[in-house]
Amino acid sequence: MSDVHVDIRLRRITKIYNEGDSATGVVLIVNNTKSDVSHQGVTLALDGRVNLKMSSKNIGVFESFYNSVKPIQLTSANIDILKPGRVKSGRTELPFEIPLKPRVANRPLYETYHGLYVNIEYMLMAEMKRSLRKDLRKEIEIVVEYKDKEQSFISPESTSFTLNPNSVQKTAKERETFPRFVIKGDLKTQGPIGSPMTGEITIESCEQPIKSIELQLMRVEVCGCAEGYSKDATEIQNIQIAEGDPCRNVAIPIYMVYPRLYTCPTLTTRNFQVEFEVNIIVIFQSQYLVSQKFPLQLSRF
């Protein structure tokens, strides 16, 4: 019934919280009917968990469907907003404050992360129970980030690289048909997630014209369970940094912003791992392709 609905408004606009913070805001009940509405209580629940999914590689397709690993509970809290009663007509704002504390001491609140096989999410759900009618619910997601350097810090570091036909792992015979080229550059592979990945790439010499140079950001997720673990690398995004055949001996900038929610600081735990790597792909006009992988170490600060 659209006459009555429930909403959650957080005071913090960015919805970004740290461990130990309390999420404050109001639960908003909008009653568009002319009379009071009765209910069996309004509650607010906080649920933070890690959802793991097994990939079909190690276990098989069917098992992977049925057998998802049990989610890991990171935090939960429940508060009663309103005792059963009536809600007047109009807008009713009920302030709340809910703490973000880890359930288990040795497992801190990991950062929010939406991946393919690993999902770390923190949801706030407001519920108004009603008799004889469907309960009203509203769910919003909040974002958790690490608080300080102690939790997550890596000093920035760059890696330089050189691409030439030798780096391609093919037989010597196949290499003959490959175009000759020398491409050099460097890339910041370690650093905070908030600042974009920077670097440079220079085409020193190349026989054939280049069609495109791309950066492919990949996530490497490892999920473990009783039967074993699976490691999968999937693409998050692909950013093109050169189109067509660029000039020789000109430093082309590498610049990529880490997307929010789909990336998080490199995370290694007992049950699962979330890591990132970037591929630099050079595609030639003749459909040849060269790529090199760079593992990344990301931190919050």
């Binding site: 999937t234 995004q237 692909n238 940094i241 050169a242 067509g244 000039c247 591929n279």
Partner: protein
């Protein structure tokens, strides 16, 4: 009215006495002058009340639409001027360049466009993709963003329309809050710019697509600004700390979204489009972003796409703040690197595919390069300018660079180094842009700003040596056009003559002038504006050959008019005697005259006639009338095709005759008498050659008067006889201004003038009494008058007046030394009787006419006849009394208003103590009786 005829006796008048009795009344206000309001102060001001309020203006409130429009224009010009910096350096805004680019870079080939056609869903997360198979990636790209439709084979107009449609689609999506869809549209548009398939159209495509990008940027900015609820008073000057967090969050979201656009070019263009939004986030917003964007372009492979991307960056930055210069030099150096790496083996297949040449391809760079250089040169330090010049010298295909430098830098800067630039142009290899275009640019700077004196001659020699050798006439004339102005401004007639000789030489080979009339015309215009002394101008021996280059008729007329206009404007003295000038102008006038043919428009003919007349008028030989007459004879022969000129010449010659008369005080000597006879003969011969009969008639009468004044009696007679004979051939209607107008009103006027003239024309003793008048009356009778007007009646009524005047002892006016009929006949009784019998006939005609008409119309005629009879006839005569009674009866029965008017006049007449007193009293009684 029983009697069939009435007798007429004319009243004796005493003119001198009547004149004395006329009363003059002083008046204070001039009827045609406007309303003036005199302030209490010393000044006199005119009020705002217009002199004459036409009904349309009175209905309108506010201003009329045209002045509103002009006001608007002024306002928008004012706004544009604000964009120009207050300091001296001018900066052409993008809008002015836009239309030039769109007009220049067009194509007749077909274009294709691929855009979103259906409602796209939310951009789904880039999900499962296994290996790095980029083909699948690209496919998924397309399909994820909604189905893409490729519309092929659009003409340029359709393409432009399609882009406009996209623009409106963008706005509509935005307004209906489908912001994701708007972003997709913009990304698709930006992708269009990576397509260089129809390369000649690329600059125009750039202009069109960037408009969409600008729209998008503006929409995003406004949205975030609205969200941040910034008051309008600080709308332009707000800083990021005044922006609330929610707006900042929205802004950040936008930038995140754009940072994850996959392709390089859309990512770049969209970020540039919303560059202004950085202002919400940071205090020092733009510099790092500009530098980053500037280096991002290095990843674009195609040099044309790259330079236009750079151009867009510079443009967006200049809109934000013209003083942002941090990105400019890096952009420019990057461009130079790209430019130098344009390898011919890369470009060649492109040129072949598009079937264009290297020059045309290079030309595609110039709008972007011009813009970038303009941004760089604006308020640049002199060392920066020097570096740029240096690079211009060193590069191999530097033609296009030099061209843009010449366009972008300040003219003052360029003319200060003019010789250096001339050197550079000489050294520049002729790839891409032709040297003539460079010389032309240099010329434009040289004309606009002042070249230092010591350099002028060297510069001219340098440049002209090169220009002279240009083989292609098109190139040659485009340079010559500009440099001639330079020569005309700073050098004398010798140099100008040399240059003109060169131009003539170049243009006559292979009849090249036929293709370049506009340029030649502009050269002529420039010469005319700088050389105002026509004597010197015509003394240039190459000037007339230059004028001869214009062989197309319409162009000949144009330049003839140009020269005559300039002459009229500049020649301060009214008249000239200079042979050279006269002959040259005669040549020009003849040229214009000869171009008139049956197809020329009437307006054109009028205009040319006006110009020739002004020329003729300006020739004055002073007292040497014979020379003047021979000049007129020559003109008559030359300008025989134009009626207006012929008529004017007749007037001139008449004027000559009268002037002669004035000088000798109308006593002609043995020398002057033949001369005036020659003049009269001239007019007599010339008048029949006029096309318009009415004009002929009028001129006959006028020239007859002139002849009579000069005591050429037989000639005068001939004129008048010719006029009378002409009367029957005058058509009932002629075409004036394309409309057919009746000739009757004109005829009536001219005949009345004729009648007045006849008063002092002496009778020829060989012919009968008043034979001219009789002839005229017969002709009038024979003419086919329109029966709905009463022209004949009015003429006859006026004849009555004339006859009355004829019967006076001394005529009211006469010509000196010409004896009119009063002297000839001496008021002989026979003559008087003749007059009266003629008057009776005329009177009868008038009464017949009155009887024919309906009562209403006849009343009008009746009253006018009454007026004439009362004024001119002898009222004491009994016949006249009967006539009067009859007429009055008729009038009182039909129209009382007119009747009372007549009555009033009679009462007034009583006041003059005349010999008619008794008659008037009788008349009054009669009228009173009738009234009752």
């Amino acid at each position: 009215m029983g009697e069939s005829s009435y007798n007429w006796v004319s009243r004796k008048r005493q003119y001198w006495r009547e004149k004395r009795q006329l009363v003059f009344e002083e008046t204070a206000s001039h009827p045609l002058k406007g309303i003036t309001v005199i302030n209490s102060g010393k000044e006199q001001k005119k009020t705002d009340i217009p002199d004459f309020i036409d009904p349309l203006t009175a209905l309108m409130d506010g201003r009329d639409p045209l002045s509103v429009l002009s006001l608007e224009k002024k306002v928008s010009v004012g706004v544009k001027e604000k964009e120009v910096i207050e300091k001296d350096e001018p900066f052409e805004s993008w809008n002015t360049k836009k239309s030039a680019i769109l007009a220049k870079y067009t194509t007749s080939e077909t274009l294709s466009i691929s855009v979103l056609c259906s409602d796209g869903d939310k951009m789904s997360v880039k999900s499962v993709v296994s290996e790095t198979v980029r083909n699948r990636l690209e496919q998924l790209d397309d399909f994820e963003e909604g189905s893409v439709q490729e519309t092929l084979n659009l003409s340029q107009q359709d393409y432009t329309k399609r882009i406009d449609d996209l623009n409106s689609e963008l706005k509509i999506s935005w307004q209906s809050d489908q912001r994701v869809r708007s972003l997709k549209i913009v990304i698709q548009c930006a992708k269009l710019l990576s397509d260089i398939s129809v390369i000649q159209f690329y600059p125009s495509k750039f202009v069109l697509v960037t408009e969409i990008l600008d729209t998008f940027g503006r929409l995003v900015f406004e949205r975030i600004r609205d969200k941040s609820k910034i008051g309008s008073d600080i709308a332009d000057k707000f800083t990021s700390d005044q922006v609330p967090e929610s707006a900042k969050e929205t802004c950040r979201n936008w930038f995140y979204k754009i940072a994850s656009i996959r392709e390089l070019l859309p990512r770049f263009y969209v970020e540039c489009a919303i560059l202004k939004c950085y202002r919400f986030l940071k205090l020092e917003p733009y510099k790092p972003a500009l530098l980053r964007l500037s280096s991002m372009i290095r990843g674009v492979g195609d040099p044309l796409v790259a330079i236009y991307a750079r151009c867009y960056l510079c443009r967006v930055a200049s809109v934000l703040d013209k003083n942002l210069r941090v990105h400019l030099m890096p952009t420019y150096s990057d461009f130079l690197i790209t430019f130098s790496q344009i390898r011919s083996e890369r470009i060649q297949p492109l040129l072949v595919k598009n079937r264009i040449e290297m020059g045309v391809y290079m030309n595609l760079y110039s709008p972007a390069l011009d813009w970038i250089l303009q941004c760089v040169a604006y308020k640049a330090s002199s060392s920066e300018l020097k570096t740029i010049l240096q690079t211009g010298r060193e590069r191999s295909n530097s033609g296009i660079l030099l061209h843009s430098i010449l366009s972008a830098f300040q003219p003052d800067y360029i003319v200060g180094r003019s010789l250096e630039f001339a050197e550079m142009i000489k050294e520049c290899k002729d790839v891409g842009i032709s040297r003539s275009a460079l010389y032309r640019r240099l010329g434009m700077c040289a004309v606009f700003a002042e070249v230092p004196v010591e350099h002028r001659l060297n510069l001219l020699n340098e440049v002209w040596n090169a220009v002279m050798k240009l083989a292609d006439p098109g190139e040659y004339i485009s340079c010559a056009e500009v440099w001639i102005e330079f020569v005309a401004k700073y050098f004398g007639k010798r140099e100008l003559n040399t240059l003109l000789a060169d131009v003539v030489k170049h243009m006559t080979c292979d009849r090249a002038f036929e293709d370049h009339y506009p340029e030649l015309q502009s050269i002529l215009g420039k010469i005319l504006s700088t050389m105002t002394d026509f004597k010197t101008l015509f003394s240039l021996d190459k000037f007339l050959p230059f004028v001869d280059l214009f062989q197309k008729e319409s162009v000949r007329i144009e330049i003839g008019k140009m020269i005559m206009d300039s002459y009229n404007k500049n020649s301060k003295e009214e008249a000239t005697e200079d042979e050279v000038l006269i002959n040259s102008l005669m040549y020009i006038s003849r040229m214009m005259h000869d171009c008139v043919n049956a197809l020329t428009l009437e307006d054109e003919v009028r205009s040319i006639t006006g110009h020739i007349i002004s020329y003729i008028r300006s020739v004055d030989f002073g007292r040497d009338f014979e020379r003047q007459l021979s000049f007129y004879v020559e003109c008559r022969a030359t300008f025989s095709g134009l009626d207006g000129v012929t008529a004017f010449l007749v007037h001139c010659v008449n004027g000559l005759a009268m002037e002669t008369r004035r000088i000798v005080n109308s006593v002609h000597t043995a020398k002057t008498a033949p001369f005036v006879r020659a003049c009269v003969a001239y007019t007599f011969i010339t008048i029949p050659s006029l096309n318009s009969m009415l004009e002929q008639f009028r001129l006959y009468i006028l020239s007859g008067q002139v002849a009579l004044c000069n005591q050429c009696f037989s000639q005068a007679d001939a004129f008048f006889k010719a006029a009378v004979t002409l009367l029957k051939s005058i058509p009932p209607a002629i075409a004036i201004d394309g409309k057919s107008r009746s000739t009757e009103p004109f005829l009536v006027e001219y005949i009345q003038q004729f009648l007045s003239t006849l008063l002092y024309v002496p009778d020829n003793p060989d012919a009968g009494v008043l034979y001219l008048l009789n002839g005229l009356l017969n002709a009038v009778e024979a003419h086919d008058w329109d029966s709905s007007h009463d022209s004949k009646f009015h003429i006859f009524a006026n004849v009555l007046c004339l006859l009355s005047s004829f019967s006076q002892e001394q005529y009211i006016y006469r010509i000196e030394r010409v004896d009119s009929n009063d002297a000839l006949y001496g008021s002989d009784n026979k003559f008087i009787n003749e007059l009266n019998s003629l008057a009776c006939n005329v009177l009868e005609q008038c009464i017949i006419r009155i009887k024919e008409l309906t009562p209403k119309r006849s009343a009008v005629l009746c009253s006018s006849l009454l007026n004439i009879v009362i004024a001119h006839a002898d009222l004491n005569c009994s016949n006249i009394e009967i006539l009067l009674k009859t007429l009055l009866t008729v009038l009182s029965e039909t129209d009382l208003k007119l009747f009372s008017k007549i009555r009033k006049r009679v009462e007034e007449g009583l006041k003059t103590k005349d010999n008619q007193d008794k008659a008037f009293e009788k008349l009054l009684n009669c009228m009173n009786n009738l009234k009752t």
